[in-house]
Amino acid sequence: MDNFEKLNQIFRMVFDDNEITIKPEMTANDIDGWDSLSHINLIVAVESAYGIKFSRKDVLSFKNIGDLYKCLESKL
C-alpha cells in the first residue's frame, strides 16, 4: 500500500466512512464530517500513523489534501 492509499485509510477511519476516496484537490467541503473541530483528529491520526510531527505553520497553510500529502511526504 503506498502512502497516498494509507492516507486514504486514515481519512476513512477518522471520518467513519468507508466510501471516502481522496484526491489531492479535495478540501474539507468535499468530505462529510470534516470541519474545523474534527480537522485536528485527522492531523493527530496522520502524525501517529506515520510517526511524524507537523509544525503549526505546516498545518495552518494546508489548503487541500494535496498540500497535506506533500508536507507528509517531505517528512518521511
Binding site: 474545523s36 473541530l37 492531523i43 495552518l60 497553510s61
Partner: protein, 493 residues
C-alpha cells in the same frame, strides 16, 4: 458621518462622480483620499495617526516577512507586526477598562482615558493581522504598492464596522481596472436601500422598546424583560446586517464585492451553525487565527484540547467586542456552548441516528428554536449596562417560568399594554414589517452563491410596476418611519 445621514449620501455622490471622471490609474487614489476624509469626519485626529501608523508598520512587516531568508527572521517580523497592531488596539480600546479595574482595587480615580475613541480600530487591526499571518504562512504575496495597500486597510465602506476582508479577497479587486457595469450600480443601490430600510425602519424602532426596558431593568416585569430580549435579538441583527448590506452596496457601486457577513443566523440549528451564519468575516477570522493555532497546541490533551481552545477563543471574542465584563461573560457563554457541543456531538449524533431523528424536519425546527433561545440568553449579557443588571434580568426571567399563573400573565400583559399606550398600532406595524423582512431575507439565495445574493435582486425579475411600488414603499418607510437618532451598534466595537 454615518451611512444613514444625508451628508453621507452627498459625500458618496461626490466621490462617485470624481471616481468616474478620474483616469484609471488614479482611481485607487480617489478612493483612498475619500476613505481618509470619511475617517477624519469623526473629528478624532489620533485615529488618523493610528491608521497611518498601522498601515506603515503592516506594509513594512509584510514585505520583510516575505524578504527574510531564515524562519527566525520571518517569525520575528510577524511578531513585530502583530505587536504593533495589538499594542495600538489595546492602548486605544482597553485603557479605560484597565484603569477602571485598577481604580476599583486601589481607590484612585483616573479621569484620563475616558474620552478615548477607537471606532474602526478593531476592524482594521484584525485585517492587518490576517494579512501578516497569511504572508508568513506563504498563502499571500505582500502588496508592493503602498497606496493600494493603504486602501485595502482603509476602504471607507468597510472601515468602521467591517466586513473584515482577507487580502486574497480584496487586494486583487483593488488592483484591477474599473469598468462601468450597470448591473453592479443597480445592485449596489438595491443593497444600500435594503440595508437603510433594515436599519432606520426596523432596528431603530425596535431599539426604542429595547432601550426603554434595558435602561431601567428594575422597573420591569419578567415578561417585559423576555419581550425586550427578543426585540434586542432582532434589533442587533437588523442593525448590523443592515449596516453590512449598506457597506456591500456602496462597495458594489465601485465594482468591489465585499464579503457577506450574515446568512439567516436565527435559522441556525446549533450554536456552531449560528457562528457560521453570524458576523461571518469575524467568526472565520477568530477560527483561523485564534482557534486553529490553539487547537493545534492543545492537541496533546486529546479530549480536552478542542473544548479548551473554543473557550479561550470565545473569551477573546468577548474582549474584542468591548472592554467590559458583560462582553467577556457573553463570549464565555458562547465558548461553553461550543465546548459542550464539541464534547457531546459524537455520543449525541449516535443517539439521534439510533432513533432516526437526525433527518427529521420537526427535530430541525426544535433545534432552531432551542438555538435561538440560547443565543437570546447570551444577548442579555451583551446588551445589559452592567453584569448586575444581567444577573437581575436572568433571575427575573426565571421567575416567569417557575411562577407562571394565568392572573399573573393577564396582569403583566395589561401592564405592557399600558406602557405602550398610544403606540400600540405602531408596534403592530413594526412587528409585521419585521416578520415580512425576515421572511424576505430567508428567501434570499444562500451565502455560498455570493454572486446571486444581492439584496433585492429578486425584485429585478418582477414587472416594472411592482419594482416601482417596492422601492416606493421602502423609501416611504425609510423616510417617514425611520428613526435617525440611533448610531450603529457595532460602532462601539
Amino acid at each position: 458621518m454615518t451611512f444613514t445621514s444625508i451628508f453621507f449620501i452627498v459625500f458618496l455622490l461626490g466621490v462617485y462622480l470624481i471616481f468616474r471622471v478620474s483616469p484609471q490609474k488614479y482611481r485607487w487614489g480617489v478612493l483612498l483620499i475619500a476613505s481618509y476624509v470619511f475617517y477624519s469626519t469623526l473629528n478624532v485626529p489620533y485615529l488618523i495617526l493610528a491608521i497611518i501608523f498601522i498601515t506603515a508598520a503592516t506594509f513594512v512587516g509584510g514585505i520583510q516577512i516575505s524578504k527574510s531568508i531564515t524562519p527566525q527572521a520571518k517569525l520575528a517580523w510577524l511578531w513585530f507586526g502583530i505587536t504593533v497592531n495589538v499594542g495600538i488596539l489595546v492602548s486605544l480600546k482597553y485603557i479605560p477598562f484597565i484603569l477602571d479595574n485598577v481604580s476599583y482595587f486601589t481607590d484612585v480615580e483616573y479621569a484620563f482615558g475616558r474620552q478615548i475613541v477607537s471606532i474602526g480600530v478593531s476592524f482594521y487591526t484584525f485585517q492587518a493581522i490576517s494579512y501578516l499571518t497569511d504572508i508568513y504562512l506563504e498563502i499571500q504575496e505582500p502588496e508592493k504598492h503602498l497606496g493600494r495597500f493603504s486602501l485595502y486597510l482603509s476602504f471607507f465602506p468597510k472601515l468602521l464596522q467591517g466586513p473584515i476582508e482577507r487580502a486574497s479577497a480584496l487586494l486583487p479587486q483593488l488592483r484591477s481596472d474599473y469598468h462601468f457595469d450597470a448591473d453592479d450600480l443597480k445592485t449596489g443601490i438595491n443593497l444600500f436601500l435594503w440595508g437603510l430600510f433594515k436599519k432606520v425602519v426596523i432596528a431603530d424602532r425596535l431599539a426604542l422598546a429595547v432601550d426603554a426596558v434595558y435602561q431601567n431593568v428594575h422597573d420591569h416585569s419578567g415578561i417585559s424583560l423576555v419581550l425586550a430580549t427578543y426585540c434586542y435579538a432582532l434589533q442587533i441583527y437588523f442593525d448590523f446586517s443592515g449596516y453590512t448590506d449598506m457597506a456591500l452596496g456602496i462597495a458594489r457601486v465601485f465594482n468591489i464585492r465585499l464579503t457577506q457577513n450574515f446568512n439567516n443566523p436565527y435559522l441556525s440549528t446549533s450554536i456552531a451553525d449560528f457562528w457560521r451564519r453570524w458576523h461571518i468575516s469575524f467568526s472565520t477570522w477568530i477560527l483561523d487565527y485564534i482557534f486553529k493555532p490553539l487547537q493545534f497546541e492543545f492537541r496533546k490533551w486529546v479530549r480536552w484540547g478542542t473544548p479548551l481552545a473554543l473557550i479561550i477563543t470565545f473569551l477573546v471574542s468577548g474582549v474584542w467586542h468591548g472592554a467590559s465584563w458583560c462582553f467577556i461573560v457573553w463570549g464565555g457563554i458562547h465558548g461553553l456552548y461550543l465546548a459542550g457541543s464539541a464534547m457531546l456531538s459524537k455520543p449525541l449524533s449516535r443517539v439521534y441516528k439510533r432513533f432516526r431523528i437526525d433527518k427529521s424536519q420537526t427535530f430541525k425546527i426544535i433545534n432552531t428554536v432551542i438555538t435561538f433561545h440560547m443565543v437570546c440568553f447570551a444577548w442579555i449579557f451583551f446588551r445589559s449596562k452592567t453584569l448586575a443588571d444581567s444577573v437581575y434580568i436572568v433571575s427575573k426571567i426565571m421567575t416567569v417560568f417557575i411562577d407562571i399563573t394565568v392572573p399573573k400573565l393577564i396582569g403583566d400583559s395589561e401592564h405592557i399594554l399600558q406602557l405602550l399606550g398610544k403606540q400600540k398600532f405602531e408596534i403592530v406595524i413594526i412587528l409585521l414589517l419585521t416578520a415580512l423582512t425576515l421572511l424576505i431575507e430567508s428567501l434570499r439565495h444562500p451565502v455560498e452563491d455570493n454572486s446571486r445574493r444581492i439584496g433585492l435582486s429578486w425584485l429585478a425579475k418582477m414587472p416594472c410596476w411592482m419594482q416601482g411600488t417596492a422601492y416606493g414603499l421602502i423609501l416611504y418607510f425609510s423616510l417617514f418611519y425611520g428613526v435617525s437618532t440611533q448610531s450603529f451598534i457595532y460602532f462601539q466595537f
